[in-house]
């Protein structure tokens, strides 16, 4: 009986996640067909998809591995720059489909490599130290990309961290990346269905991972790393697996996001973006994939809806954030909510609550 219930729970997560994404896709397509989609809302579609992927990806680290990462935007940035750089240079001569697919693969690969570089040293630390080091790596990548110049001439590629002139190029050389100006003149590629397809692939991968042996090892490490180690789980291996998978997904999201705009600058992927994604994960409920999806949509659309109040919108957003956290997480509030739930529901609901309590204990 217990086993059956567990299977049904996993299936439920699959169902809710895919119904959510499918519903989102269907609703948007329907509005598109009816012509009711404003250009502003249309411009928001791809970022929403990218944020959904980012929230799922960060959830892998924060919700399932139980480690706090404050530099997740860096992986997005690594993927975005690698993918777009390829797409804008080598990809320019290819058929568009192939260039896009390759750009995504290269972006994911670059983010994955960056994930390994960060993950190997960082995962030795834990808790707040891990958080600060991920933040540090994010800032480092942002600053380096922000001052990186790349140029190409007949002699090949030239790199400089100083300025355009120290590239030492032939006069016919072309500057491909201009420091703080980043990469410009990107041929835009923003197809909503591709975003949805990527989300679906992400979901398939993450949900399968979490229901596999590896996924159970990862959650075991989160719940008690000493116990996990004592039954022979290789901590480094599984931590790195979760971390790098998460980085690769973030890399894909980065490419998707970057191709939606004509120019790409490193400043976009700063600490605030990392925090916003973390807020999505925490608000959606750590470890809950459907929650992350809903929170990503709500938190991307909410500030846009509040644009009518323009100057008040971030202020309102911050108050909503604080109140939601207090209401969801403060022990006194949680108890009050449970009492209220008991009062209003029938006796059956009450006994269910008791069962849940017993199981936890």
């Amino acid at each position: 009986m217990a086993k059956q219930k567990k299977i049904s729970k996993a299936a439920r997560t699959y169902l809710t996640s895919f119904i959510l994404v499918g519903g989102f896709w269907g609703a948007i397509e329907a509005v598109k067909l009816s012509g009711g989609l404003s250009s502003k809302a249309a411009g928001l579609l791809i970022p929403v998809c990218a944020y959904i992927m980012m929230a799922i990806s960060l959830n892998l680290v924060v919700g399932f591995l139980g480690e706090l990462s404050l530099g997740h935007a860096a992986f997005m940035s690594a993927g975005a720059f690698a993918g777009v750089f390829f797409y804008n240079t080598a990809g320019a001569g290819m058929p568009e489909g192939a260039a896009i697919v390759l750009a995504f693969l290269i972006g994911g690969l670059a983010a994955g490599i960056f994930g390994v570089i960060v993950g190997v040293p960082v995962l030795r630390l834990s808790g707040d130290y891990l958080a600060i080091v991920t933040l540090a790596f994010g800032e480092i990548l942002k600053n380096v990309l922000n001052s990186l110049y790349i140029g190409a001439d007949s002699a090949g590629l030239h790199f400089s961290l100083k300025d355009q002139f120290s590239l030492n190029m032939e006069p016919t050389g072309k500057v491909l990346m201009k420091g703080a100006m980043g990469i410009t003149g990107i041929r835009k590629f923003s197809v909503f269905s591709v975003g949805i397809l990527l989300i679906a692939l992400t979901l398939l991968f993450v949900l399968n991972l979490m229901n596999s042996r590896a996924g159970r090892a990862i959650t075991a490490i989160r719940d008690d790393d000493i116990a996990a180690r004592s039954i022979g789980i290789n901590l480094t291996k599984y931590k790195l697996m979760a971390f790098v998978s998460s980085a690769v997904i973030a890399g894909f999201a980065g490419v998707l996001y970057a191709l939606n705009f004509a120019s790409l600058v490193a400043k976009k992927f700063d600490y605030n973006l990392s925090i916003n994604i973390l807020v999505m994960v925490v608000l959606g409920g750590m470890g809950s994939i459907p929650g992350a999806i809903i929170a990503a949509v709500v938190l991307t659309v909410l500030p846009e809806l509040l644009r009518g109040f323009s100057q008040y919108r971030m202020f309102i957003y911050s108050i909503v954030l604080i109140i939601m956290m207090l209401f969801n997480r403060a022990p006194a509030f949680v108890m009050w909510r449970q009492r209220m739930a008991l009062k209003f529901r029938s006796g059956k609901a009450g006994s269910e609550k008791e069962d849940a309590g017993k199981k936890k204990g």
């Binding site: 600060i132 973390l278 956290m325």
Partner: protein
């Protein structure tokens, strides 16, 4: 000479980081939370001094005291409303709330005082110090900043080790439950910690803006993060550690700005932090935590 001048400026910037980091580290040591809104308290302190002293022409000492009082009250209020109800909840929940408070302060300041930059006049009105026949000039702001933060650090160390509330703080930081059983009012001690940290932030804000006189609602964000890094660098929870971490961070930042690259100075600061943490995970002066199974 050039090098010495960069070094002194680095120490001065580092002293500001140290003041902010002291607040971070005390709150972390006692309440076990990362108070991300700490940087924004600096900004509030800065605005108070700006309106009373720079615009209102108030006596600088009076204006400083007013800023300290405002920030202290603000710190206590934030703790009371936003953090205390979450005591006992997961640490991540508290962190997100702190981020919410940080947004709240920044955007509140933007609404109240607009995002237009305000130029700050220095609260220090002393002449600069000329050394070596004028080849090395040290501004009065630099000296005041360094001396202030040194004095504050020694007072804090004395306070924590020699007074009853200080002992209570140590006890709460060691074991909150046991401290409560010994009759220590844990809530009051945590409020006191927030009060001290926020008061220091007000001083840090005025000193920071005296040397770097551009005041906008996000003024406190980056120094806040740097100070957090400084606190971790020196060993979070340790008062001398926060001071050493802050000074070192300021020196590294200023020297790399001068000799390597302005744009990459932040990257270098963070790189040093990573190296330190990998070699010595508990920070320079941090206590080594023994894990009991």
């Amino acid at each position: 000479m050039q090098f010495l001048s960069y070094l002194v400026r680095g120490i001065s910037l580092g002293s500001v980081y140290a003041l902010i980091a002291l607040g971070y580290t005390m709150v972390y040591g006692i309440a076990k939370m990362l108070n991300f809104a700490h940087g924004d308290i600096i900004m509030v302190g800065g605005y108070v001094v700006f309106f009373t002293f720079c615009q209102g022409g108030m006596n600088p000492w009076l204006s400083m005291i007013l800023a300290i009082v405002v920030c202290t009250l603000l710190g206590i209020t934030i703790e009371r409303i936003a953090y205390r109800p979450l005591r006992g909840a997961a640490s991540l929940a508290v962190l997100i709330t702190a981020i919410g408070v940080s947004y709240f302060l920044e955007n509140g300041a933007m609404l109240l005082w607009s995002s237009e930059p305000k130029s700050f006049t220095s609260i220090v009105s002393l002449p600069a110090l000329n050394l070596f026949g004028g080849s090395l000039q040290i501004s009065a702001e630099t000296i005041v900043t360094i001396v202030t933060s040194l004095v504050i650090m020694f007072v804090l160390i004395w306070f924590v080790n020699n007074t009853r509330p200080g002992h209570a703080m140590q006890a709460v930081s060691e074991d909150r439950g046991a401290a409560q059983l010994m009759g220590i009012n844990v809530n009051a001690i945590i409020s006191l910690t927030f009060a001290i940290g926020s008061g220091l932030a007000a001083i840090a804000g005025a000193l920071l803006l005296s040397s770097y006189p551009t005041l906008v609602p996000t003024t406190g964000a980056m120094p806040g993060i740097k100070a957090f890094v400084a606190a971790v660098f020196g060993g979070i929870g340790s008062i001398p550690g926060a001071f050493v971490g802050g000074i070192l961070l300021g020196i590294i930042e200023n020297l790399s700005k001068a000799y390597i690259s302005t744009q990459l100075s932040d990257a270098i600061v963070f790189l040093v932090l990573i190296v330190v943490l990998l070699v010595k995970p508990s920070g320079l002066l941090g206590k080594k935590a023994t894990v009991k199974v």
